[in-house]
Assembly symmetry: C2
Homo-oligomer: 427 residues x 2
């Protein structure tokens, strides 16, 4: 048969010995992976390229790309109060749209095919995801600073769910986004949980990011953030928990028992001096751990390969075992475990029936030589600049390193203009 797209003569990480495979794609789905010849209406030459599932960025705030390198090397509260919040107060939908598109362009160029986001003006991020063709799992950041504000934001998240969940051939889904235990009261969280249950939606939340958060929670509620959320019933309907840096054995057992999925953000956690999450331990307990970049203002890029590499590296020193989180497990965290973490069931593997979210790495740079082990080369040596081709949902979003759906020159000009207006009005 003739597929919509055929990728010919491409290498895979398994068996990783240089065998050439062919991939056939029909519509949004992978229809064939094997060594038989395939024909396609569109043919991509895979020679000297490695095909892998696209990265899933399991936690970010993509519009914060606007604030990349605006303020670094600062204490968290100084950074928030004196630099980020004053600018965020001047954000509008237009800035969020262009900032989202800049971040999405960066993600596609670096091999990310799906991202889970929590921020505001999310309607605009949804439009940017729709326009660009990337897969997205969106949530409105919910804080209960006043009852009125909290209720209004919950309405926004509800509208976002009703308008966008399942949109674009299922490419966009929506979760509810209560920000964190220290910004949402237990009563507000109960309201959010009830609304999510009513709609059958899942929840995306920051949990146990810093030692200070855990200490404050213990002091205020006599429980860790994880135990408090369990008590509130947060974990009954599907939860993506970002960070989980400071989780002890008991916390990890709660996460495992309820099937809570974790988004580990290694670089952001290092940069903000939050610490190193016990990833090897969580994986041993059977917890699904995906990887995220967090926002570009605390990372400072959206390059998932950096996170995959760092997660593997940090886990070895954090656990004291150089065998912990080998390359193949880091690859899994960046792909199918990430997809599972953000609530997707048919994404993250190069298998028949999965969504055609595929990245082709060009292996011609020196870091890909010699070719002892392709998984190890990808995870430990390659660069995201080697990403040549990106498909999402069966559509080609990057070809020979060029974005097909985003005009980067226009995006950077619009971002510049938005920032000029925001900083002018802030002065």
């Amino acid at each position: 048969m003739v597929y919509d797209i055929a990728i010919k003569d491409v290498e895979l990480t398994e068996p990783g010995d240089g065998t050439l495979f062919n991939i056939g794609i029909n519509g949004s789905t992978i229809g064939y992976v094997g060594t038989d010849p395939v024909e396609g209406k569109t043919v991509l030459d895979g020679r000297d390229h490695l095909a892998v599932p696209g990265w899933v960025n399991a936690h970010t705030h993509v519009a914060m790309t606007l604030f990349r390198s605006y303020a670094d090397d600062m204490a968290l509260m100084d950074w928030l109060q004196n630099r980020i919040w004053p600018l965020e107060a001047r954000l509008d939908g237009r800035a969020v749209y262009w900032g989202s598109l800049l971040g999405i362009g960066e993600m596609i160029r670096t091999g990310t095919t799906c991202f889970a986001d929590m921020y505001f003006f999310m309607e605009e991020t949804a439009k940017a995801a729709a326009d660009s063709g990337i897969r997205a799992v969106l949530s409105r950041g919910l804080t209960g600073s006043s009852p009125e504000d909290g209720a209004a934001r919950l309405e926004e998240n509800t509208q976002l769910y009703k308008t966008w969940n399942g949109a674009q051939n299922g490419r966009i889904t929506v979760m509810f986004g209560p920000h964190a235990p220290y910004t949402c009261s237990p009563d507000y969280l109960k309201t959010v949980i009830a609304r999510a249950r009513e709609l059958g939606a899942e929840i995306h939340m920051h949990l146990a990011e810093t030692a200070g958060e855990v200490a404050d929670c213990l002091k205020q509620y006599g429980k860790s953030p994880i135990a408090l959320m369990e008590e509130l019933g947060m974990f009954e309907g599907g939860t993506l928990a970002a960070h989980c840096v400071h989780v002890d054995e008991a916390d990890q057992d709660i996460l495992a028992r309820h099937g809570v999925r974790v988004a580990h953000n290694p670089q952001s956690n290092l940069k903000l001096a939050s610490g190193i999450a016990p990833v090897a331990s969580m994986l041993k307990k059977g917890i699904t751990v995906g990887l995220g970049t967090d926002g570009a203002s605390s990372n400072n890029n959206l390059d998932m390969l950096e996170e995959v590499r760092l997660a593997a590296m940090l886990a070895k020193t954090q656990s004291g075992d150089p065998k912990a989180v080998p390359a193949s497990q880091a690859l899994a965290m960046g792909t199918w475990m990430g997809a599972k973490a953000v609530g997707l069931k048919d994404t993250g593997k190069l298998e028949v029936g999965q969504k055609a979210d595929i990245v082709l790495y060009n292996m011609d740079s020196p870091a890909w030589y010699p070719r002892h082990d392709r998984t190890s080369l990808l995870v430990y040596a390659a660069s995201s600049a080697d990403v040549d081709t990106v498909l999402v949902d069966g559509n080609i979003l990057l070809r020979k390193g060029e974005l097909t759906t985003i005009d980067l020159e226009k995006v950077t000009a619009e971002v510049g203009q938005c920032l000029k207006e925001m900083t002018a009005s802030a002065e």
Copy 2:
């Protein structure tokens, strides 16, 4: 006047506000940096590029590029005894030459202009450095496995010094390379130190890499590796100490007192589960800390920007202070502090009178937007794939991403052939 090379309209990290500078280069040296117009026999257009001093890779084993991804995620002794040493026993000069050239090609492409190396068949690495045009600080790895072997290796290092120190317009210098306290007896170390002093040479050595090394040294000699080296007089004539992961306050005070320069290898230390060096503390004590990749078999690439970024990130979590090792200090560690660490006096800064070792980053990728802070963008967001142009000693070794002195296709073919022969004879 007309310079040999003029770089026009280029941005610098200081002031980093987008001001356009011109750089004039005469011979191997920077003759002008400023905003006046310059003319050159060769003119490089610097528009939308950032000029920085080239990275100094202060500790590597470049020929181990041959073993990149040959064996990962293993315990150190299993890795060495069952994977690395059997192959190393079959190394010859030809393999080291081509393996070195592959690693040098990778370093030039990723913006490294100088590397400090310790390995064997170093004559071949010297030839590769000479042929490629990169700056190199070479030492023969010295172990005293038997008195005869130890003496023969010391002779090799002596010959290397006599033949290559100051060669190629001073581009190649030579140190002595006693491997480590656990592979060299105190008597052998004294012999090495005496020979180095006799010739006026400096020393490059692995020190305090693992907790096990420190514990064993305390048990055997009643002193830490650092204190033992001080007692042997190791630190009197200029020392580059690689790793220094497990150094307590007293050790750090010894390093500071003797002006010992440290090569910090953050990624290798993570991957081998060795730990995280107390970099913020060492810097506060005034110790010169450069950065290194270590060999590609334990990293697994030679990309210095990764190390610069990781050093800044790790220092924050290691010290518990998000303000520790800000971007500007990480940049310093990767450039002029690294140059000082490897014993170079006129390299590592973009200033008149310094060697023209310069890298131009193309700022057109999404990670360089918006342009709030160029130093921060470089250290926290950019990719080594953005390296467009590399000069070493006033010669252009990379232009528009293309190597000018290395035929990469030939190098990878030769590396493949060498490995085929080595692995065949190992079976």
